[in-house]
């Protein structure tokens, strides 16, 4: 698999893509230093700040969701690599406030290690910060230790919900409670069709035979659950929605949010066809499906595949999802 990408010196890739983001969406976000993306117009100091961290190479995630109603800051590492603890600490210092900070960490070894180190140091300095760890990937199993479950694109609706709660003036404890409740009620499953190339070294990640797909592929192309021959869109949707319903516990009469997150080369055409079947299956079970989303939110370079995210929504979550948001890649 030859790499064909529009880049310059791979060593400058993360810096340049963030500069591009800040230029393109200058009314919404700006860069502090090279690797911290913040809102162009900061949120009122009296409100809880929302900060997250993670590697680049997954655009628009995570920095594309900085802006009014969602994230206050995204601390970026390098391609597929968590930022170091000192960088994260720098961001936490920047948002130090009476109201406190919520730090959202996706459950990946590198991110967790940086977050723990930075949190320890921040708390020593008297910075009020609580962590929410996302681990909604059910590919390794539904009832296993949450520490063993990865965080996938489910972080994005979570940012939306807690971002809106913070804008609404909720306290740190309230925002964390709303977020953890949302966190417990969401689940993600990924499927991959093709591999991709690492933009900095050109190496191939996760090769799959021409006639196979894999359910459970992680967001850096790490292999996961079961391989099978290629299934139709409807079969794929059916096989994925069943365990997601089980994991979220959604049942007749409940309201749910369904999101199809394309990871790279899979077309929106396909995502819409998959959404259709999954939404129909939910409706057949008496579940009220709110307006959803199909698109690329957290990608894995040019890999073909997608993540299906199902969230069981409480009444307050529904309101927070609808609340105003103005970020480069999510608007409400």
């Amino acid at each position: 698999m030859a790499m064909k990408k529009f880049i310059n010196d791979p060593a400058n890739l993360t810096k340049e893509l963030l500069e591009g983001l800040a230029l393109c969406y200058k009314g919404k976000v700006k860069l502090v230093g090279e690797k911290i993306v913040v809102r162009a117009t900061p949120k009122d100091e009296g409100k809880v700040a929302i900060v997250t961290l993670g590697g680049a190479g997954h655009e628009p995630a995570l920095s594309g969701f900085v802006g009014e109603g969602m994230l206050d800051a995204s601390v970026v590492g390098d391609i597929f690599a968590a930022p170091g603890a000192p960088k994260l600490l720098e961001a936490l210092r920047m948002f130090k406030r009476e109201a406190g900070i919520v730090l959202v960490t996706l459950n990946h070894a590198g991110d967790r290690m940086s977050a723990s180190k930075a949190l320890r140091d921040a708390q020593k300095e008297g910075i009020k910060v609580c962590e929410i760890v996302t681990h909604e990937d059910i590919s390794a199993g539904i009832d296993i230790d949450p520490e063993e479950k990865r965080g996938l694109a489910g972080c994005i609706p979570l940012y939306k919900v807690i971002g809106a709660a913070a804008e609404a003036g909720k306290t740190l404890e309230e925002v964390v409670e709303i977020g953890e409740r949302f966190n417990r009620q969401m689940a993600t499953l990924a499927v991959a069709m093709t591999g991709c190339t690492h933009p900095q070294n050109g190496g191939t990640i996760a090769v799959l035979p021409d006639d196979e797909m894999e359910i459970g592929m992680g967001q850096h192309g790490e292999a996961g659950g079961g391989r099978s021959k290629i299934l139709t869109a409807d079969e794929t949707a059916s096989r994925m929605i069943a365990p997601l319903m089980q994991a979220t516990g959604v049942k007749a009469g409940d309201t749910a949010l369904l999101i199809i997150n394309g990871v790279g080369a899979t077309t929106l055409m396909e995502m819409l066809v998959v959404y259709r079947k999954a939404a129909q299956l939910l409706a057949e079970k008496g579940i009220n499906v709110t307006p959803g989303a199909c698109g690329e939110y957290l990608t894995v370079q040019e890999m073909a595949g997608f993540q299906m995210i199902l969230c069981k929504l409480d009444a307050d979550h529904q309101e927070y999802l609808k609340a105003r948001a103005r970020t480069p890649y999510w608007t409400a």
Binding site: G55, G77, D78, I79, F80, A81, A82, P83, G84, A85, P86, K87, H108, A109, G110, M113, S114, S116, K117, S139, A140, E148, R150, H198, Q200, N201, G203, T204, I205, A206, G216, G218, H220, G221, E222, A223, G224, G225
Partner: protein
Amino acid sequence: MMLTLQRFKEMIAAAGEAIRAGEKRFSELDAAAGGDGDHGTAIVTAFQAMAKAGGADFKGYLKALSEALQNEACGSTSTLYGSWLQGMSDTAPEGAAELDAAALAKVFNGGLEELGFVTRARVGDKTLMDALIPATEALLAAQSQGVAAMFERAAAAAEQGAEATCAMRARFGRAKNLGDRSIGPRDAGAASMACIFAAFAATVKASC
């Protein structure tokens, strides 16, 4: 024989060169075991960042290495190595620009202990710990034989530990969901750790 700070700086430089030469292999090993194929990039970047560190004593130099790594590099590798070097700095004697065998053993032991707080991985989990834990143990056990022997034993133990990862199933890092399919290739992080200890040993030996 004492290990001078100058010699230790040469060891780090030699390790950096050995790592650069193996960059492609480390990335391929990462991908082969189901990881994201970037360990070569990560460890080379880490050594590039470390190359900028300076210091007049072991404590300061080790601290500078750790900070350079965490400030400039990214990813699990820089956090893991950053903690390792931080632990070494913490246990290094104040102001020393030379270490005898006992002090050296204490420093490497302190590095491993600090790293143990950062990761739950231990021998058998198919990570760099499979190379580092036996290497540190061998280094400690060889104290009475002097600095050169310590690194020689450590390098041999690291190599053996890295080789043993071939038969293991990954439980940490991005390869963990691969299950049985992670069996076969050497763990990328263990391979690079063994490469570093080999460079350390060769540098010390050459200077004897």
